[in-house]
């Protein structure tokens, strides 16, 4: 359904700059059919060649789909520069350009060994001849790039590189092509050796954020119950619930023994925290090499919250916290219950901007 907003029918305005923009009534937060809402990997970031366990959140208007038909594969084809998407479209169309990974909702896979060459800062290779280059640290030597002719992949705005994962999801009659991406640990393009060392000190591999829960601000901070947690919350029809998604705070300074392997801590200095690295679950700090100034910059992750519901509606489809708000540990949205009684399913997906994800599923019974 499209409505037309006649913008500013006033005398004298923008002869051509102000136009009338259609408004689509379909909203991403409304789950009306089979959809993929999130894909997660554990670990959230890994070296090429490492084993990774995946999970997927597939839902439809009736709630969570526990056993959708999902086929997983790794795309091996770098994206042509004349394609604006995040992945080569050919990987969806030509199975020869992908490596099978597995099936189901929690497959395990091994990241292709040449990920840093195909999708990272190393010398790109044709898809048919995977490189044995592991990538880690190798590309930090600038002369290596200058001696080659291939154009490396550009990092994202967090200096991240990603191994594309192609998913073919079938839920009933619905086919849902989906792109998953696993952050791979590669070198730091355009850095000096000193910068790379400083980068490694200041940056830990990304860990998935942790959604602590969703509370209801206008109901004495009671919490939404997850699907697995027991009885669903009962709310009145047309009620407005002020929801708050929360995640942990990250320490502002590294402190050995806090259970978090923060930047600046290493397994040698703090084996308790870093032997099995654990992130803070919130807005993690990391170092970023500015591609223009070639200087390292201390940054924090931004956190994004995606809200979904099978019934009712949210004020905003997405909320979150900007990078500069890294000390904040929650984000609010309002869900308006439907006017008719019945169950409503709500999903809240938490993402950091380095590829980490977490989610929870809830059920609310509308009376």
């Amino acid at each position: 359904m499209v409505s037309r907003r006649k913008a500013l029918s006033l005398a004298g305005l923008l002869a051509s700059a102000v136009a009338c923009t259609p408004e689509f009534t379909d909203r991403s937060s409304a789950v009306t059919g089979a959809r993929v809402l999130a894909i997660g990997s554990s670990p959230a970031e890994a070296l090429p060649g490492s084993d990774v366990t995946y999970k997927i959140l597939v839902v439809d208007a009736n709630g969570l789909l526990k056993s959708p038909n999902v086929s997983w594969s790794y795309c091996t084809q770098p994206k042509p520069t004349n394609e604006l998407n995040d992945v080569a479209t050919a990987c969806f169309e030509n199975s020869a350009l992908s490596l099978p990974l597995g099936f189901g909702v929690t497959p395990k896979g091994t990241l292709p060994i040449n990920g840093c060459a195909q999708f990272g800062p190393d010398v790109p290779q044709p898809a048919s001849s995977p490189s044995s280059n592991s990538g880690m640290g190798a590309s930090s030597s600038g002369s290596a790039i200058h001696q080659t002719q291939g154009r490396p992949t550009d990092p994202d705005s967090t200096d991240g590189y990603y191994q594309p994962v192609i998913l073919r999801v079938t839920a009933g009659a619905d086919r849902i092509p989906t792109l998953g991406e696993t952050r791979i640990t590669c070198g730091l393009a355009g850095s000096t050796g000193e910068q790379f060392e400083a980068y490694n000190r200041a940056t830990k591999r990304n860990e998935n954020p942790q959604l602590l829960g969703v509370t209801i601000n206008n109901m004495q901070d009671s919490a939404l119950a997850t699907l697995d947690a027991g009885e669903p919350l009962q709310v009145a029809a047309s009620a407005h619930l002020s929801l708050r998604a929360s995640w942990p705070a990250c320490p502002t300074k590294p402190q050995c023994g806090d259970g978090i392997c923060s930047p600046g801590e290493a397994v040698q200095d703090c084996p308790d925290d870093c032997t099995t690295p654990k992130g803070c679950g919130g807005s993690e700090p990391f170092a970023y090499l500015d591609p223009e100034s070639h200087e390292l910059v201390d940054r924090h992750e931004s956190i994004r919250v995606s809200w979904f519901a099978t019934r009712g509606s949210f004020d905003t489809d997405h909320t979150g916290r900007q990078e500069g708000e890294f000390t904040e540990t929650s984000s609010d949205d309002t869900w308006s219950a439907p006017s008719e009684a019945g169950p409503a399913f709500i999903w809240v997906v938490l993402r950091d901007d380095r590829g980490g994800v977490d989610w929870q599923s809830f059920r609310v019974d509308v009376r």
């Binding site: 029918s9 004298g12 604006l84 550009d154 000096t192």
Partner: protein, 883 residues
């Protein structure tokens, strides 16, 4: 010269003769029957006798006395010589009088035959030769066709003439041969032309003059002559619109230069872009010059206004292709803006305002030889909008904030010698900040586009009619674009110092050969830095949809470029068949030098790889021909090669390719023009252009380092354009333009041709304006344009990391936005005072409130599509006061 001057003498003779006859008749009647003569015969037809050739040498006066018998019908029954003056005179007299006829005499009140004595006098006189007009003409207003009085016309020292109220002038007994005609006056720009007078032929000419503008009554106009010698050969295909017409076109809000968008061969710009797409060429391929000074753009942001004050413009000329060798560096069209001569008396100016911006200009003489004008414009649309809406409009669209200013200084060095200074500046800023609770939807835009130019122009008209023009100029360009879409920042900052020098000599080598030689130098030194996604901004040919979030990958680069080309050129106009056929071959030799500061991406830990210098020479032959087969029917054709240097922004080792070479094109056209009446003309042109070596994105998934852009693109465009035009006369002007065109691109060898992103099959415009009287003026414009091609989204996939859908595309540019159809109207009222004029106008766009699709948009998962539609009915009210 011998001339008979007998009429008066014979008339007297005839009056005297009856008296003698009467005396004799009375005597006869008295003796016989005493009849009574009651009425004398009266000569009613006199026949002039030729002066005998045999007697001319003597040159004497002679008289022959004859007796003429007249019957009762008044006819000459007989004639005899009574007193001879010689045989030749006698015979001439007899022959003549026999052809006399009379009102018969009456005797006793009844017609009766009589005889009379008649003296025929021959007088020989030699008349002094009467001066004969052998050169005359009319001078009229080129547009209104009205005669102009008071224009002084001189013939190389032989004398002067001044046009009368009918605009007429004439010269008598001008010696045969060639003469330099000078059209001048105390308040005229003196120009000369050459005319040749031939034996036995009278030369009648018509000169059309261009009044700069309407001047209050009582003040003389400063005029500029269109007809000069040697004639300036116009481009074979070009459309020139005068300021007076352009200002009155609906939809332009009084901005003369916006009228270019309505000319044939020009695609309708996509909304809010203000881009010039001429004959299927990319917007940056069309070059724009003001008095020979190159400027980077013609319109302010959004296409709302032009960047140059229309009141300083004499004419704007669009040559969509096939232009001569004087210009180059562009694969597309050529827009030349000629500023007008400044007035020599009085202080003049104007102030104008509407809801978009305000503008003002002052013009005055400093001395008898020096004049200046200064103009400026500033927008305030953002504040206008805040008065009528409670929304922050900037949340929806960037609101342009712009200004421009111009200074022109003219100084007459001497007779037919002048120097002019032209300085201009323009700045556009677009700002939008759209905060959102969602970090990925937090958006901000900032775009700055500014340029400044200062140029000198030295002109001298030599006595032999040739002319010299020197134009050095210097300027700076600054463009800055910052865009943040969620966590993906994009920035491009480019600062350039630009310079140029144009020189030209134009003169007549012989009766039928006029040649132009010159040098065209242009260069730029640019410092750029860019960061962000390589895919943003999208390029022509990208698979993308409007509003698509940029890719998440980012990079950065800082680089410098130098681009220089020095182009000597020459073209010669050969005239044949009495000036009906003109053949103009031309040649432009243009070495290009392009440097980029680094060949490969820079890294802090490695020594610099060094820059790259690319040297290429282009040889651009041009040929045009026009044949005026009949006074109202002419034909034309042109062919030419064109080259264009790469854009500095494309010479990045990270985002582009520092080794890009020049792009090529050739253009071929032919057409005919018919003068349907004095004011109505019809022109049709068929064209074909082919371009190669075009810069496109690499389609490789593993492109070579520093080769994100490659030069494998080709382009072609072909079609026809028709212009039916009624020039401004008697308060009416208008035109119908129609372009049928197809423009295609092939990005890489082996691929199929696809439609160009800006292709429009049909573009039709109807413009009309009429003065209703009493200062009222009514105008209308109708436009039809095929929608731009777009690539359909066939399906989409979900990107889980970014939580958004990304489109998958079908066949490239295989669908079109629906056609654009719009009618606009303009009504204005003028007020005239003794020393001032004022105008108020209402310019209404889209009077039918039609929803014109302008762009395709999709919902968040690309499952539904809709169109952004253009403006609803939009009245723009403005006023202007000038003195």
């Amino acid at each position: 010269m011998v001339k008979k001057v007998l009429g008066a003498a014979l008339l007297l003779a005839s009056l005297c003769a009856p008296r003698a006859v009467l005396a004799q008749a009375n005597s006869a009647e008295t003796q016989a029957h005493q009849p009574k003569l009651t009425k004398l015969p009266r000569l009613v037809h006199f026949e002039e006798a030729p002066y005998p050739e045999t007697e001319k040498s003597a040159g004497k006066t002679a008289s022959v006395v004859l007796q003429i018998a007249i019957d009762d019908k008044g006819r000459v029954a007989d004639a005899v010589v009574q007193q001879s003056a010689g045989p030749a005179f006698d015979q001439a007299a007899l022959d003549a009088v026999k052809k006399f006829s009379f009102d018969p005499a009456e005797i006793d009140n009844r017609p009766a035959p009589v005889k009379i004595t008649y003296r025929y006098d021959f007088v020989f006189t030699v008349e002094a030769p009467t001066p004969v007009i052998n050169y005359d003409g009319y001078i009229k207003n080129r547009f209104s066709k009205q005669p102009i009085a008071g224009v002084k016309v001189s013939i190389d020292g032989l004398g002067d003439a001044t046009t009368d109220e009918l605009g007429h002038f004439e010269f008598k007994e001008v010696p045969l041969g060639k003469h330099i005609i000078t059209i001048s006056g105390a308040k005229l720009t003196t120009v000369t032309t050459e005319e040749e007078l031939e034996k036995g032929k009278k030369l009648s000419v018509k000169y059309a003059l261009e009044p700069q503008e309407d001047v209050p009554a009582g003040e003389e106009s400063d005029l500029e002559i269109v007809v000069v010698a040697p004639k300036i050969q116009k481009e074979v295909v070009s459309t020139e619109i005068k300021t007076e017409e352009g200002r009155r076109v609906p939809g332009t809000q009084g901005d003369t230069l916006k009228v270019v968008q309505n000319l044939p061969g020009v695609a309708r710009a996509s909304f809010g872009s203000g881009q010039l797409v001429v004959w299927g060429a990319a917007p940056q391929d069309t070059r724009i010059y003001v008095d020979g000074i190159h400027i980077p753009l013609l319109y302010h942001g959004g296409g709302l206004r032009s960047v140059f004050a229309g009141d300083l413009v004499r004419a704007i000329n669009l040559a969509p292709g096939g232009y001569g060798s004087e210009y180059g560096r562009g694969l597309g069209g050529l827009v030349t803006i000629d500023t007008r001569a400044l007035r020599t008396t009085g202080v003049h100016g104007f102030v104008a305002a509407d809801v978009i911006d305000s503008a003002a200009m002052v013009e005055a003489p400093v001395s008898s030889s020096t004049r200046f004008a200064i103009a400026a414009r500033k927008s305030y649309l953002d504040r206008s909008l805040s008065l009528v809406t409670n929304k922050d409009v900037g949340d929806f669209v960037p609101i342009p904030d712009y200004y421009d200013a111009q200074i022109k200084l003219s100084h007459d060095i001497g007779h037919n010698e002048s120097v002019e200074l032209l300085a201009l500046t323009s700045r556009d800023a677009l700002t939008r900040t759209l905060t959102n609770q969602d970090p990925a939807q937090d958006k901000s835009d900032y775009t700055l586009t500014s340029f400044s130019r200062v140029g000198l122009s030295y002109k001298r008209q030599l006595d032999d009619g040739s002319s010299v023009l020197l134009t050095p100029w210097l300027g700076v360009d600054h463009t800055k674009s910052q865009e943040s879409f969620g966590g993906t920042p994009t920035q491009l900052d480019s600062k350039s110092t630009v310079f140029g020098f144009r020189s030209a000599w134009r003169g007549r080598l012989s009766d039928h050969i006029v040649t132009t030689v010159g040098l065209d130098v242009e260069g730029s030194r640019s410092a750029l830095n860019r960061r962000g996604s390589i895919t943003l901004p999208a390029r022509e040919g990208d698979y993308a949809v409007f509003g698509q979030p940029p890719g998440g990958q980012v990079n950065g680069d800082t680089w410098d470029t130098t681009i220089l080309s020095v182009a000597p050129y020459a073209q010669t106009d050969f005239a044949f068949f009495g000036d009906r056929l003109h053949v103009v071959p031309g040649l432009r030799i243009e070495p290009f030098v392009t440097t980029a500061s680094h060949r490969l991406p820079t890294r802090p830990d490695s020594p610099g790889i060094g820059g790259v210098t690319h040297e290429t020479s282009a040889l651009d032959p041009r040929l045009s021909a026009s044949y005026q087969m009949l006074p109202r029917l002419g034909f034309k054709a042109a062919f030419g090669y064109y080259h264009q240097s790469p854009q500095p922004a494309d010479l990045s080792a990270v985002f582009g390719n520092p080794q890009l070479d020049i792009e090529h094109a050739y253009q071929l056209l032919g057409g005919a023009n018919v003068k349907l009446s004095e004011h109505v003309s019809l022109e049709e042109v068929v064209f074909y252009t082919k371009s190669s070596n075009l810069v496109t994105r690499s389609d490789s998934s593993t492109p070579l380092l520093a080769e994100a852009l490659v030069q494998s693109g080709e382009g072609r465009a072909y079609g026809t354009q028709i212009l039916l035009r009624h020039e401004l006369t008697a308060g009416f002007f208008g035109w119908i333009s129609y372009t049928l065109m197809r423009s295609e691109r092939k990005d890489h060898p082996g691929l199929d041709w696809r439609l160009f992103d800006f292709d429009q099959t049909h573009v039709a415009t109807v413009v009309a304006s009429y003065e209703l009287g009493r200062g009222f003026e009514l105008g209308a414009r109708f436009r039809y344009a095929t929608g731009f091609p777009r690539t359909p989204v066939t399906h989409a996939f979900y990107s889980a990391r970014r939580d958004l859908y990304e489109p998958s595309f079908g066949s490239q540019n295989s669908q079109r936005i629906p056609a654009f159809v719009q009618a606009d109207a303009r009504i204005a009222k003028r007020f005239n005072g003794a020393w001032w004029k004022a105008e108020v106008y209402l310019d209404v766009q889209n009077v039918t409130d039609r929803d014109n699709p302008e762009e395709v948009v999709y919902d968040y998962k690309y499952g539904k599509r809709a169109y952004i539609t253009g403006l609803p009915t939009l009245p723009v009210f403005g006023a202007r006061f000038e003195w």
